[in-house]
Symmetry: none
Subunit: 233 residues, 4 copies
DNA sequence: AATGAATGAGGTTTCATTCAT
DNA sequence: TATGAATGAAACCTCATTCAT
């Protein structure tokens, strides 16, 4: 019995070895330089052995990405569970989830972003695509629930939560994207300040001031405007 | 004399034939499915003929992207030149430039985005990389000048224009990106509404309210405007 | 343990298979007809398999050539080590080394000659070029040491050994070259007799007669000998 | 009438333009870098125009080579016609013919050598091959006649003139060959001294000493001379 | 379980030559 | 006569994946 368990663990360790290798190559040489040969070399496994742990080259990458997405999903879940305790700073908290997920493993985060955009998704087996799909849905779903809550509780302005959560997420991804492409083109970068400004923009745009006026001074928006907008959306 | 001119035009036409073919493939099958063979087949040119018009496979793609970027740069330039006449709706106008550039040729726009993120940039010849670099710089530079103007004129909040313009651009790209990845994962999409919300968020975040309060109707959202937008959505 | 050794041997065998195939094609169809496809076909390996044993097409050819050069170097080394025992017939012995190296594998010998003359050398990777360079230097260096010895011992006339050894080597190569071009032009050939005469010419040219006249009968040509030879031809 | 003649001359000029271009490329970039495109560019003719003056790419090269061979043949012819006047220094004169032919246009000389050795000859049309053959035969034939004369007149040792003339020619070619391969391998070269030594070797080897001893001081090497040379080198 | 060996399919690029104008 | 344009044929190389041991 224990033997089986130990074997399973070893297997899991070797899977991660391969995944880490793949991400390392992604970081250093870019997506299309990831070859089974290099993964094998870097993970000190043989090329053939990789096929014992993964059906495909893609499965390796998907595994990394799904793990990363699950981590973010975990944070979001926790945030959602504690939603009652986070008074008005829900956007701040949400953004922090994103940022932490990025900072925990920037390489995999950008790989994730790249992967979704890339045509590799097309060539995925239905099964793998489903895995990817489900993992993405989990993240998106949790974001949505959080935003829905914030809208319902009138922390955020009144508008379609689906769209609103997408805007927040898009903004974060956009910043990470621009950051990365600046690196690609060898610019210097200053992401942190960009993120701060972006968050501030969003905070001012998202905050439901009328409620805040009922005691909370956060947010950037003067009265008239906000009132008008509440109706508008 | 006329003969030469006609030849030059024919040449240009065939270049565009190839570029269109490449973008068509990009749209239908994704970036890494673009092969010279397919471009040739689709553009009804021979594989070898493509090398008469382009030195490289990459040059085809770069050509498409640079042309697209130049189009956007043109719009931005025009906006900047008319900056005096656009009272308070500079963000609106800026965003419209982006949106039009996207809508003019969504495929090339996403190709552009993809290309910058992708590691293909790394494998570019110095010359091509320089072309790409310059074209990107032009766009970014114009954005910056516009935002600088808006900050100077106190239309936008007082903060580093470099960062601010990046936030706006990132937000737009983020939305296009999310849009695209939704398509990839076979969701249905509703980008227009997402864009509108995003724009509104930004408007509220970016607008210099203190100035607006002074009686100026410029800035993102005064009442009238809001009314108009309510119908829009 | 034995398994590894066996594998290594098999690998070596397959390398030679490829090399032989390449040389066979060189013989029958000429240098620029050597293609990976043909090598693969002839050696019953797959085209891709060739890249398991050689990094390049050129590496295959270089391997053949270097091996051949090393063989000649071996003979020269041996001759040099036994230099004390070879009284006066050092030129004879030297020439024999050349001739044996040629006869052992005429095809590779001419390939060697061709390769050095050809511009292919220019397009070689620095690494391969270095290998070639070193192997050529070994042969030239040994020739030089032998000739130096002969000059020092006054077997050969007193002159710059560097130049002298080059003359001998050039003469041999020239004969092989002419031989080959006769074949190319479909003449019949009679190299052996050409070689004999050439050797005799050299012997008379190289021999230090003043020393011979002092009573030493070694060396190529004293007068009597010349008389005998006149009949021989 | 004159028009036709002028046209013919223009044609001839353009042929030489192309030939020179081809040889220039050969010199600077090596044989296999010669492409029709480059020849066209260098000769300021259009690629298609080349086919008006030459049937083939090979014909261009052959033309250069044949012209060069004809020049050598001319020298040899002259030498043969004046054979009576050149007392004992026939070898010297012969060698000078070779050397002049080399020095007149080293590039074409080595191209010639290369060409004969190369497999390109195989792929020649029968007609072109015949042209090449005939031009080579002319040179070889004249060499032979000269050597035959020298042997008959007992200037050279008594041996098969066919072989003897081949030895001389081979030696010269060998030296040029070694010279060239040294350049290829980026050594420094000192061909002139090599040639001198080689010529001297041959002189001593070829000279009919028995005759010389009979009072004739012509020829390469009498004893005194040998003594002198020992110091000189 | 693990791996060295093998390969088929596919991609980019080059170039001599032809053809319509 | 002269040429810009077009192309078929071929060459080299890479890589994900399978298989025998």
């Amino acid at each position: 019995m224990e033997v089986i368990e130990r074997k399973r663990q070893e297997r899991e360790i070797r899977r991660e070895l391969a995944i880490d290798a793949a991400m390392g190559i992604y970081e250093e040489e870019g997506y299309h330089s990831i070859t089974m040969e290099k993964i094998a070399e870097r993970s000190k496994l043989s090329r053939a052995a990789l096929y014992l742990y993964f059906r495909n080259k893609e499965e390796i990458l998907i595994s990394a990405i799904v793990a990363h997405a699950d981590y973010l999903a975990g944070s979001l879940k926790e945030l959602y569970n504690n939603r009652e305790n986070t008074k008005g700073d829900l956007l701040e908290k949400l953004w922090t989830c994103f940022q932490e997920s990025y900072e925990k493993d920037p390489v995999t985060f950008t790989a994730w972003e790249y992967f979704h955009q890339s045509d590799v998704v097309d060539s995925l087996s239905p099964e793998l695509r489903d895995i990817l799909h489900r993992s993405a849905s989990k993240v998106v779903g949790l974001q949505l629930k959080i935003v829905e809550y914030a809208v319902r509780e009138r922390m955020f302005i009144e508008c379609d939560p689906r769209v609103l959560s997408e805007v927040v997420w898009s903004t974060f991804l956009g910043i990470v994207y621009v950051e990365r492409s600046k690196i690609m083109l060898s610019h210097k970068s200053h992401m942190i300040s960009t993120q701060d400004i972006a968050k501030r923009m969003l905070a001012r745009g998202v905050a439901n001031l009328s409620r805040q006026r009922e005691g909370n001074t956060a947010g950037g928006m003067c009265d008239d405007e906000v009132g008008a907008q509440q109706n508008g959306l």
